[in-house]
Symmetry: C2
Subunit: 152 residues, 2 copies
């Protein structure tokens, strides 16, 4: 069976996972920097989701690296199903968190300066953008693996 580029155990998948780790960490970093995020439910949700997606992507990046180095195949329907479902659930949570945070940032930017100083709001904005980009990579990973699933 041909391996789909981007599915688990390929170099493209490893690159996608690395991208997810970097973007999620950046999102978490910019959100936590001001330590003011706990006043807003949406920001707390974003921090929680980013805290979930980082270890998940890290584990799968290690799995990809191991598969590439040892050149063994881990294309078993059980493992792939767990990866697809995990990726789908995490991508849904990431999208929800990113759009909630983006809408709150939009509201804060229009409101008074006392609610959110310009410097702090820009950080929140960058964090929401990073979360959106991380969602795109997560969906890509999920779709590539889903494409492979019926063939197993």
């Amino acid at each position: 069976m041909d391996s789909v580029p981007g599915s688990v155990g390929t170099c493209a998948s490893f690159a996608l996972r690395l991208g997810q780790i970097i973007l999620s960490s950046a999102s978490l970093f910019f959100m936590s920097l001001g330590v003011g995020f706990y006043s807003y439910t949406a920001f707390c949700f974003l921090v929680t989701v980013m805290g979930l997606i980082i270890p998940w992507s890290f584990t799968l990046a290690l799995l990809d690296a191991y598969t590439i180095l040892v050149k063994c195949s881990i294309h078993q329907s059980g493992i792939l199903l767990v990866i697809v479902v995990g990726d789908l659930v995490l991508s849904i949570l990431t999208l929800a968190a990113a759009s909630s945070s983006a809408s709150i940032v939009d509201l804060l930017l229009r409101a008074d300066e006392t609610f959110c100083p310009q410097r702090l709001c820009s950080r929140y904005q960058i964090s929401a953008t990073m979360a959106f980009l991380s969602w795109l990579l997560s969906v890509a990973s999920s779709l590539f693996n889903l494409w492979l699933l019926p063939a197993l």
Copy 2:
């Protein structure tokens, strides 16, 4: 080829589409009732997405009804692909709109009464809930059709 329950042209699909129309219309109704939604970007986004999902679901409900009555099969990969992609895109937009609105409602409920009177905020809350339920049905439709796609 066996038809998957919930895929296009079945009674379950017709029921899902009807549910989507009812929930999206209810969400649009509760959001537009107060006419104060245009002050918030997230609420405008929700209204736009609900305005897209209603005609889409209505068209597909008509297609389902026609297929059930005439007892013909419309299982062609081209049509199914358009339906799956349309459903996926609309469900992503619905989830983004619903979570943005929910986060804004949460923020408004904590803020001063002058920003959002209790009666108005409850309407927004109901609207966001309906949008979430509509998203669930939309994802279900999309997954049932996606399941059928590789078999064609």
